[in-house]
């Protein structure tokens, strides 16, 4: 577990540099890394996207399948988000079932998508109580260079935004999938912003170096509600450090501004 030992020299370096508002990769404390989005990168998926935040590289794919609804929501389709930390992405990742980090990541991404009510699951029902569309969102981390939450959220979002839902014909208890597609019923779009706290400074879009020495991180997702008002829709603190009340509120304000910036980069036609 030597990778859990905090490199104190690096931490001091990062903190002292931040005193003058700078970071090791040349960014200011509130700069995002260069964000690149590519959509429809996997033809066999109904939706897919790769996202880069600097060198962090993530792919998300969406597959639609017919399945059973949950008993408490018989008229609604299902969305399921999973994340895999595949071993090629980091010397620290190992093969095996998702660990707590992969599960936390998937659940934080899921919460943003779910709470913003991005996917209109009421339109994914085929036969109430029996057959609905299940949207499987699978995230693969390809290169871990920090801030997996924002990159994975954005990749999942872009994969869903550009996905196509197969058309289906319902005859009695049978569902026939047609060779035609319709756009996926989508509503408000969540944008996630993560900040790392190191010493008394907040770092937007933390790099791997920064994550290694951080006290904790805070991820905040914003979405527009029905009245087009911008709202916080999900939040997660991670890591064993603490936040003061002032830092928490400051981080949320910064995240709001940065989410507006990231929102502008979405594939055309989306807000």
């Amino acid at each position: 577990m030597t990778n859990q030992i905090i490199p104190s020299v690096k931490r001091r370096q990062i903190i002292e540099l931040a005193e003058s508002g700078k970071r090791m990769d040349g960014r200011s404390l509130t700069d995002l890394r260069k964000v690149e989005i590519k959509t429809n990168v996997v033809e066999k998926a109904e939706g897919s996207a790769t996202v880069k935040f600097g060198d962090t590289y993530v792919i998300a794919g969406v597959k639609f399948e017919i399945g059973e609804p949950f008993p408490d929501t018989p008229n609604e389709g299902v969305m399921s988000v999973s994340a895999e930390f595949v071993p090629l992405a980091s010397p620290g990742f190992e093969t095996g079932p998702p660990d707590e980090n992969a599960i936390e990541l998937a659940r934080v991404v899921d919460r943003g998508l779910r709470e913003s009510k991005l996917l209109d699951t009421s339109k994914l029902c085929l036969i109430p109580g029996k057959k609905v569309w299940i949207a499987w969102v699978d995230i693969f981390i390809l290169d871990h260079c920090g801030n997996l939450i924002d990159a994975s959220s954005l990749a999942s979002l872009c994969a869903l935004l550009t996905s196509k839902l197969p058309k289906a014909e319902v005859v009695g208890d049978e569902v026939k999938i047609l060779d035609e597609y319709a756009p996926v019923p989508l509503r408000a779009v969540p944008i996630n912003i993560t900040l790392a706290k190191i010493g008394d400074k907040l770092f937007v879009d933390p790099s791997l170096d920064e994550e290694e020495v951080m006290d904790c991180r805070l991820s905040v997702a914003f979405a527009l509600d029905d009245q087009k008002q911008e709202k916080i829709c999900a939040m997660q603190k991670g890591g064993v450090g603490t936040l003061s009340f002032e830092e928490l509120l400051r981080a949320v304000e910064i995240a709001k501004v940065k989410s507006q910036e990231l929102r502008k980069l979405l594939p055309s036609g989306e807000k």
Partner: protein, 241 residues
Amino acid sequence: MDKKLITEDGRRLDGRRFDELRPIKFQIGVLKNADGSAYVEWGRTKILVGVFGPRESHPKHLAMPDRCLIRARYHMAPFSVEERKSPAPSRREIELSKVIREALEPAIFVELFPRTTIDIFAEVLQADGSTRCAAISTAALALADAGIPMRDLVSSVAVAKVDGNLVLDVMDIEDKLGDSDMPLAMMPSKNLITLIQMDGLLTNEEFAKSVELAKKGCMEVYAKQKEALDSHFRIASKEEV
């Protein structure tokens, strides 16, 4: 989804005011085998926490040369919810185990016990909302009961938005039907946040108000934690050496 969560006279479904906690009763030292233990009845939420350690890390490769490894397991009994829950840990339980550990670890002097492990086991016997908050607050008492050196206790509570109102200490139905849920944990005498999560839709102003209400709730939980420690250890404090 149209069920009203706030009655005409501005009360919640269990009769509480918006800023009122449910009855909370902590008990300390309830298990013989554990090095520290505590139990809570928090409204209808019932949780038992046992702490073991610090003890030699097993397997050995988990040991960290400069500090103690903290492990936490949040687990729900199959009979703790309306529909039987599979006893295998769910993704939700794995995530909650992680955030609970991260909420408690800042309070523990981990550097005093290199190469050892502290295990925190929280078993939810009955769930009626705010289980992670109750588990954290109870685990803090179990850690204190184990005599593990800590900077502070950790107190936790959740705030929800239901029918447009911010309410303190969320019960299950408010969590399920409400518009937002925000668990927060803090070290009360340090005024530092160790856990914050949120889902639902809130403006920045509403969020700031939720945080304020959660802080007030945490201080009330803290008072009950101190009360529980005081009544459990009061006898021992009369000891003469």
